[in-house]
């Protein structure tokens, strides 16, 4: 238990989900993959929803999120859409240039 807690502290996003759309990736039929990485406060499903309609019309595949039990191994098309999600919907807590700017300048 302590080990998993420590590992989670070192690697906050290790257990966060990876979600698949259009078609599960497979050596037999996947020719291209798109990995989506969302912004602060967002999630994999909402970001995928922005791109899914256009990609589905163009390359085929399922219109909704794939179901592991039903869809794994099925060839729905040559393109897979993979959306990775952050723990607590944020990849990092502080701003990208919040405290770092002064730290950088005071480092000199």
């Amino acid at each position: 238990m302590a080990d998993s807690t420590t590992r989670s502290d070192d690697d906050p996003h290790a257990q966060s989900p990876t979600k698949y759309y259009l078609s599960y990736p497979s050596p037999s039929h996947t020719k291209a993959a798109v990995i989506l990485m969302h912004g602060r406060g967002d999630n994999a499903d909402d970001l995928a929803d922005v791109f899914l309609p256009g990609l589905q019309r163009r390359y085929g595949g399922k219109e909704s999120r794939l179901d592991e039990q039903i869809d794994r191994g099925k060839d729905y098309g040559p393109v897979t859409l993979v959306a990775i999600e952050a723990r607590d919907h944020s990849w990092y807590p502080q701003s990208h240039n919040g405290g770092c700017g002064r730290y950088c300048s005071s480092n000199a």
């Binding site: 502290d9 070192d10 690697d11 906050p12 996003h13 290790a14 257990q15 966060s16 989900p17 990876t18 990736p25 497979s26 050596p27 996947t30 020719k31 291209a32 993959a33 798109v34 990995i35 989506l36 990485m37 969302h38 912004g39 602060r40 967002d42 970001l47 922005v50 791109f51 256009g54 990609l55 163009r58 390359y59 040559p78 393109v79 897979t80 993979v82 990775i84 952050a86 944020s90 990849w91 990092y92 807590p93 502080q94 990208h96 240039n97 919040g98 405290g99 770092c100 700017g101 002064r102 730290y103 950088c104 005071s106």
Partner: protein, 247 residues
């Protein structure tokens, strides 16, 4: 006689002031000075950033190893935080090449054929990546939601990486200069690694959109499809060549 910081409220007020001013006033109690607080903030951010970069890495390796997809056939598209991390991931690999550590880049930082950064720049203080290993030499792995892949599992780096940044001119979180600086940092490294003779061509482009604000625009959506079209066209070209060769 009541000195500065003698009461709880005075301490709280003091905490808000510039630490240099507080020192001049001869305070008995020193709160964390900004230079001490900021490394703590940076350190706190860094483990999250490293974990996020590991998430990119393991996802790429899963598609490459388990699904037999060439890295050149993968598009990484990030929005906002995702864009910053995507750019940072590329930058970390390029810095390894620039420091003449291509071996480390080839061992630990697989690159996708396309990196699309939608409304995002770079960190002012980038995280250390790959992060120092805690064991005999392997890079610490990340996600278990994707099957784990050993850090030393070989991968075939693409010959060319297209790095495409796009941002709205009225994006309130990313000023124009910041986006240009990010593109410039990537472009300068791409030139540098070419001069060093590395077998990696990084093509950087920047598109700025009128209006729009901080959002995913139709142009960004099209950019994903265009990238996939290029991949599929290249794949068809490769397949037809092999058919001709075997005929």
């Amino acid at each position: 006689m009541v000195g500065v910081g003698a009461t709880v409220q005075a301490m709280l007020d003091l905490q808000k002031r510039d630490s240099a001013d507080a020192h001049k006033q001869g305070c008995l109690f020193f709160f964390q000075r900004s230079s001490a607080v900021e490394p703590a903030l940076t350190a706190e951010n860094e483990r999250y950033q490293q974990s996020a970069l590991d998430k990119i890495r393991t996802t790429l390796l899963h598609l490459h190893h388990e699904c037999h997809l060439p890295l050149s056939s993968i598009v990484l598209a990030g929005f906002s935080q995702g864009a910053i991390l995507s750019n940072t991931y590329l930058l970390s690999a390029l810095d390894l090449y620039m420091s003449d550590n291509a071996t480390a880049a080839h061992a630990h930082v697989p690159l996708p054929g396309y990196i699309l950064a939608f409304a995002g720049s770079l960190f002012k203080t980038p995280p250390l990546y790959p992060r120092p290993s805690t064991n005999s030499g392997a890079v610490t792995s990340a996600s278990e939601s994707v099957p784990s892949t050993t850090a030393t599992a070989a991968f075939v780096q693409p010959k060319r990486v297209r790095s495409r940044l796009i941002c709205g001119l009225t994006d309130k979180y990313f000023p124009l200069d910041e986006i240009k600086d990010a593109a410039g940092a990537l472009a300068s490294r791409s030139v540098g690694i070419r001069h060093l003779g590395h077998d990696l061509d990084v093509v950087v482009s920047l598109a700025l959109e009128e209006g729009g604000g901080h959002r995913i625009s139709p142009r960004m959506i099209d950019m994903v499809s265009e990238s996939v079209d290029e991949i599929l066209a290249a794949t068809r070209g490769t397949e037809s060549q092999s058919h001709e060769a075997s005929a």
